[in-house]
């Protein structure tokens, strides 16, 4: 199965990259764009077929390495 992990800074943690991009977006004239957040997407294959077990495994991996839950939240997709 393929796992996609989306990691973002938590709401309330200042995303300075997002702010900088938002400034550039406004410079381009897209005034309706706001609250730009920058995250990362990590994709990998994972062996197994038990969806619930795999999801638990990926979440453990997120907590231990892929995200720093002091500042980041994550979302797991299994495809």
């Amino acid at each position: 199965m393929k796992a996609k992990v989306h990691v973002f800074l938590k709401p309330g943690v200042l995303d300075v990259q997002g702010k900088a991009i938002e400034g550039a977006v406004h410079t381009l004239g897209f005034g309706g764009v706001s609250d730009v957040r920058v995250g990362r997407m990590i994709e990998f294959d994972i062996a197994g077929t038990d969806r619930a077990a795999l999801e638990a495994e990926v979440k453990t991996l997120c907590d231990r390495l892929l995200a720093n839950t002091v500042i980041e939240s994550y979302r797991v997709e299994l495809i």
Binding site: V13, L14, V16, Q17
Partner: protein, 220 residues
């Protein structure tokens, strides 16, 4: 006196730390590769140096925190050995869960390399007794992700417990409550973004960093 500097792939202040400790204190300093599964015996001080361990991939310090040697560093800290993480070393300690909080991208996105004046806000830790007279220190910072963050309740806690050791007088990077360096609850693990290893002789612009190493090894 016996010290060790941990060397990760991408560390670039490991030699600076070795020379700084040797010249400030006379302690012997072993360089320990991150793949080691044992530390030299009888250590009084372990330093995690600055640099860009693992190229800062994923998050600064994230991969280094999982290095084999870190299991030993954690065990040594549990036994009460003094551990100092400088710059990237501070990031590693936070990622390893040995210190609270995290280091974010600097508030104005700039890599900042300059001398900063620090207030020493707790002179009673084993790393800061040497600052009892001056209560301040000048050291250089060199980082892009030195913006200390913790949730408000946690900030209240670490302030209340006297865990904040160094504060920026003029906050360069947006760090919460001007925090530049903190200790763990037990007081034997210190993380700081400024570099005492670049400020240990007057020829370097300041020798205030020497006091940190001298304090840490005073009882050794």
């Amino acid at each position: 006196m016996k010290s060790a500097v941990i060397v990760f792939p991408g560390s670039n202040c490991d030699r600076d730390c070795k020379v700084a400790i040797e010249r400030s204190t006379g302690s012997s300093v072993d360089m320990v590769w991150h793949q080691e599964t044992a530390l030299p015996s009888g250590l009084d001080l372990i330093v995690l140096p600055g640099g860009f361990s693992y190229g800062d991939y994923l998050r600064c310090g994230a991969m280094a925190a999982l290095s084999p040697v870190m299991t030993e560093v954690k065990a040594a800290a549990e036994r009460g050995v003094a551990v100092v993480g400088i710059c990237n070393g501070f990031q590693v300690l936070c990622e390893a869960g040995m210190l609270p909080g995290a280091l974010l991208r600097n508030a104005r996105l700039k890599y900042i390399c300059k001398a900063v004046t620090l207030d020493v806000t707790n002179i009673q830790t084993r790393f800061s007794t040497g600052y009892a007279a001056s209560r301040e220190a000048v050291m250089t910072v060199g980082n892009g992700e030195g913006n200390f963050f913790a949730e408000e309740a946690q900030l209240d806690r670490i302030e209340g417990d006297g865990q904040v050791v160094f504060r920026y007088r003029d906050n360069p990077n947006g760090s919460a409550r001007n925090i530049a360096g903190i200790v763990n609850g037990k007081g034997n693990v210190l993380g700081l973004m400024p570099h005492p290893d670049r400020s240990f002789e007057t020829e370097l612009g300041s020798d205030d960093g020497a006091l940190l190493f001298q304090s840490a090894l005073a009882s050794a």
